[in-house]
């Protein structure tokens, strides 16, 4: 992993001002920010680990806990909210059996989050799974989509196809 982080650093010229972009690239590869990577960044950039930790915890996009294979984000911006995004979220919590504030399922497949406004208000309520935008969601529709993914994962030796329609 450190080899990968090293190449990211090199590509950005070891510039401290590119720290956020570097963190984004690490997160894209590993789906979260491993502590080891953050320590390595700190050493390479000449800043303290506490500083890197401070940047990593400030932004909503970053996670220091491993995220699931499928990152399910329910938009809770104004337009989506007034169209019932909360009920969609609650339904998914039930479906994924997430209890006590956990956000990732124990099999590591799904992480459920809310996100504040994706700017797709015309198709509210919106749910995004990884890079796929699902428009005009209802609790039932959201549940069905997640269920399809769960079924797909339960079958071995099948490569999951593109998640839903379209591509963003």
């Amino acid at each position: 992993m450190l080899v990968a982080v090293e190449s990211i650093l090199a590509r950005h010229g070891y510039r401290r001002s590119d720290l956020i972009a570097m963190l984004q690239e690490i997160q894209e590869s590993y789906h979260y920010l491993p502590e080891e990577a953050l320590n390595y960044l700190a050493t390479a950039l000449g800043v303290s680990p506490a500083t890197v930790f401070g940047v990593a915890t400030f932004y909503a996009q970053f996670s220091l806990d491993p995220k699931g294979k499928y990152l399910v984000r329910v938009c809770d911006g104004t337009a989506c909210h007034v169209k019932g995004s909360q009920r969609i979220y609650d339904r998914l919590v039930k479906k994924l059996k997430l209890r006590e504030g956990r956000v990732t399922t124990s099999d590591g497949l799904f992480t459920l989050e809310t996100v504040a406004c994706l700017g797709a208000c015309g198709i509210a309520p919106v749910m995004v799974i990884n890079d796929t935008v699902h428009p005009q969601m209802t609790p039932e529709a959201a549940e069905t989509i997640v269920e399809t993914l769960m079924k797909r994962e339960a079958e071995p030796e099948t490569e999951p196809a593109a998640v839903g329609e379209g591509n963003a």
């Binding site: 001002s17 104004t78 909210h81 996100v115 994706l118 379209g166 963003a168």
Partner: protein, 626 residues
């Protein structure tokens, strides 16, 4: 490679001539919303079918083969009409089709080639149901002045040739050849352009401040961190006409003496990020970015930095901190960024729409811009019209357009025959205006005087079925989540305001709580370090100003007039209808329902948690909600 102004003009003629040879042009909206609804399959299907006819062309093909003519299928940027998507627009007929499916592709293509119209897919006004094949005639579009958005939906944003064909980069050419930096600043100042991100500061003035700073390194930063929930104006512009913004940035760079520009775009807009990166790459390829642009000796380079999910980074000093790789915490002003900004250098930070206006001002002159809008708020403004209104979408009107026009003429009024309660303007930092204010002109100063603000342009329509206190609570929750935590006024003040609003919504508040809420709001407004904190109290202050009775209803009247707040929902079992099956008692999480089998059950109001589970479980409709 376009090395001189003459070559630019030549290129424009060449590309325009190419586009003329597109006998038919089918434009498929490929903004985020339409893509989510399947626009790409429509595009692929249309392309495939058109290729089968043998007449499919695109601009690359036309450039190579000067004799060719044919039909083009183009994917465009966001038209801002996402609720009606996927959208397909056919030129030269000017027909707009809505809710298109991939299966419709064949029919659309055939009709386009024959110069006919597919009636069933034509745009219909949601209020009247009337069809408007040519959308400009529809109420939604009639009252708009789509100037900044003129090309969104009309060109392929990933082809610089289309932008140049329509006269793109001519403003830059003019600036580089005929104007001094000082003159550019003057022209922009004379136009009356004010910052479109919300603050409304005169753009020309900001540029002039930076221009006169002595420094060998200066920066232009484009603020694409549109974080207001419910706002997508900047997204549409970046997705639909990225070169327009880029041209504005290069002109700004020339005006202040900067050779570097940074686009700071939220990570939640991946398509916008891609389109901007593509635009930069294409401009570099053509020599419109880089060294010695158009032979002028002026050099400029642009890059993109992505945000990482922090609303506060829309505040300019927080944005700078984030661009420098730090926590996005604002810095006290002074010093102002124009004096010491990115890496301590003179920097101007302009909103996407602000930069989007620059080229047109240069091309058409300051007076042209002044002729639009009002005396103190010149030009047009884009708004995202959402909420309880028939026509939701992206709207561009001259400043000074009234709220009534927005909501009823353009917006098509409120569906379901409901009464308008308020219009929320300017995102979470904005304010709510009541029905009495509908004839207010939308401009910077008028709104500010009334306790609201134009902000970035989000406009949410709220009707009688929304609880205004809950709306205030919702926005305060957003602000609390996004507060950076640096200064105590915002960090602790918004937390306490949220707690008090929650108390009111839960039916546990007293009049003292209301007074305390107002007191804290005023102090947070005065004492906060940055714009987010200073405007954090707006949801509270504006709703208290105009909707005080609704607060009082919650506190003294012990009721929620809109029937929204769960704490005030009263549940009772109708003994006539109750069959005594006990299902509701088992569903009740608070153990508030008692009774005997086959006898009517009773809800103990003192234990009731107001969750409504009993209503959901009763099969006989015996539980009434009041």
């Amino acid at each position: 490679m376009i090395a001189t102004v003459t070559e630019l003009k030549q290129a424009q003629r060449e590309y325009a001539a190419c586009l003329e040879r597109e006998r038919t042009r089918i434009l498929v909206c490929a903004g985020t919303g339409c893509i989510a609804n399947g626009a790409m399959r429509i595009y692929e299907e249309l392309t495939r079918l058109a290729a089968e006819t043998g007449s499919l062309v695109d601009i690359d093909l036309l450039l190579e083969d000067e004799a060719r003519e044919g039909s083009a299928v183009v994917k465009t940027g966001c038209r801002g009409f996402c609720a009606a998507g996927p959208l397909v627009h056919v030129e030269p007929a000017g027909v707009l089709y809505t809710h298109v499916k991939a299966e419709d592709a064949g029919e659309i293509l055939q009709a386009a080639l024959r110069g006919e119209v597919v009636e069933r897919l034509v745009y219909r006004d949601p209020a009247s149901g009337e069809p408007y094949p040519r959308p400009e005639a529809a109420p939604f579009y009639r009252r708009q002045t789509r100037q900044v958005l003129e090309r969104c939906g009309a060109i392929d944003p990933e082809r610089i040739e289309e932008y140049i064909a329509q006269g793109g980069y001519q403003a830059l050419a003019r600036v580089l050849r005929e104007m001094t930096p000082e003159q550019v600043c003057q022209e922009v100042l004379a136009s009356g352009l004010r910052g479109r991100g919300g603050a409304g500061f005169p753009t020309g003035k900001k540029w002039e401040f930076a221009r006169v700073q002595q420094s060998d390194v200066k920066y232009v930063v484009c603020n694409g961190d549109e974080g207001d929930p419910g706002a997508f104006m900047n997204r549409s512009l970046m997705e639909g006409d990225p070169h327009r913004v880029l041209e504005g940035m290069i002109i700004a760079g020339y005006a202040i003496g900067a050779s570097q520009g940074v686009f700071y775009v939220r990570a939640e807009y991946p398509l916008a990020v891609r389109r901007i990166r593509t635009a930069i790459a294409q401009a570099e390829e053509k020599g419109l970015l880089g060294d010695n642009i158009l032979g002028s000796g002026f050099s400029f380079r642009a890059s993109v930095k992505e945000g990482a999910g922090a609303f506060v980074c829309g505040e300019e000093t927080a944005l700078l901190a984030s661009a420098e790789g730090e926590r996005g915490m604002p810095r006290p002003k002074p010093p102002f960024p124009a004096v010491a900004g990115l890496y301590g250098r003179p920097t101007i930070i302009n909103n996407v729409e602000t930069l989007g206006n620059v080229a047109a001002i240069i091309n058409n002159g300051a007076q042209w811009f002044r002729n639009l809008g009002t005396e103190k708020s010149a030009g047009t403004k884009t708004f995202a019209l959402t909420g309880k209104v028939r026509n939701t979408g992206l709207v561009e009107v001259p400043m000074g357009c009234t709220l009534r026009e927005m909501v009823f003429d353009i917006g098509g009024g409120i569906p379901g025959g409901k009464r308008l309660k308020a219009v929320q303007i300017g995102g979470p930092s904005g304010g709510c205006l009541p029905e009495e204010m509908l004839d207010l002109p939308l401009d910077y100063d008028t709104l500010q005087a009334k306790g609201a603000m134009v902000g970035s342009g989000g406009l949410v329509v709220i009707d009688e079925d929304n609880c205004i206190v809950e709306v205030a609570r919702f926005f305060m929750q957003f602000i609390q989540n996004e507060s950076c935590g640096k200064c105590v006024a915002c960090r602790e003040g918004t937390k306490q305001m949220l707690a008090l609003l929650q108390k009111i919504v839960d039916g546990k508040a007293t009049m003292e709580d209301l007074d305390l809420l107002e007191e804290v709001a005023l102090v947070v407004r005065d004492a906060s370090l940055c714009g987010l904190g200073k405007t954090a109290a707006n949801p509270v202050l504006s709703t208290l100003r105009y909707f005080r009775e609704e607060y009082l209803a919650h506190i003294q009247g012990r009721t929620c007039p809109a029937g929204v707040c769960a704490a005030f929902r009263h549940y009772a079992i109708d003994p006539e209808k109750c069959k005594g099956c006990g299902r509701c008692a088992r569903a009740c999480p608070a153990g508030a329902i008692t009774g005997e089998v086959k006898k009517p059950y009773v809800i103990d109001q003192s234990k009731c948690a107001h969750c409504g589970a009993c209503v959901d479980t009763c099969r006989f409709g015996a539980v009434e909600e009041r």
